[in-house]
Subunit: 118 residues, 2 copies
């Protein structure tokens, strides 16, 4: 039984704190992650919070990537949700870990839409 | 030990197939779900696919809501990621289930940012 979507939940700790508070840098990193894993970018929405932190989402033809950062903890939560067989979300994980300088990370994969496939 | 964020992953089956293919309806439903759970909407991005299906994200001050639909299966995958104590993401789940007419659903909660809190 195949899933309709693959959903990777990435916990990134001990990141570069300046990067976690830089909206432009994070937007570029997320778009690069999407492109590098073979996705087609359709749109994005990023917001900086006061006093710190960024939330952002990149919509791709194959679903989405999202990120929420807590610079004060050096922590970011990212999600990579993809469908289809043309993308390799693991590559997006590698890009984000490298660009954010995450010294520790974990990845959980959840299969979405299992019950409806044949 | 508290988590920085609560992440609800909602699998919705046997939904109203017309609703799952209606971008305007889904955008309104997602924004309503965000508002009804006490969140502050900052932006949104929705896309309709050919021949069918919609992907959309609502960025909120407390993180994000996302949805991906497969009308051909009557299935939608939604995520509600919130931080802080002022929102009640369960209310957003109720709104989406009711608006999409989901006859079956499941909700998985993942705590995000557990390792960095004190």
């Amino acid at each position: 039984m195949n899933a309709l979507g693959r959903h990777l939940l990435i916990e990134m700790q001990d990141c570069n704190k300046e990067a976690l508070n830089d909206l432009g840098f994070l937007r570029d990193a997320m778009v690069a992650a999407a492109i590098d894993c073979g996705a087609t970018v359709l749109g994005e929405s990023f917001h900086h919070f006061n006093p710190q932190g960024v939330s952002g989402v990149v919509i791709i033809a194959e679903s989405h990537l999202s990120i929420h950062t807590w610079p004060e903890y050096g922590y970011a939560a990212a999600d990579i949700f993809t469908c289809g067989t043309t993308v390799e979300p693991e590559k997006a994980v590698e890009v984000l870990i490298e660009k954010l300088g995450a010294k520790n990370h974990s990845v959980m994969e959840i299969q979405r839409g299992l019950l409806v496939t044949v």
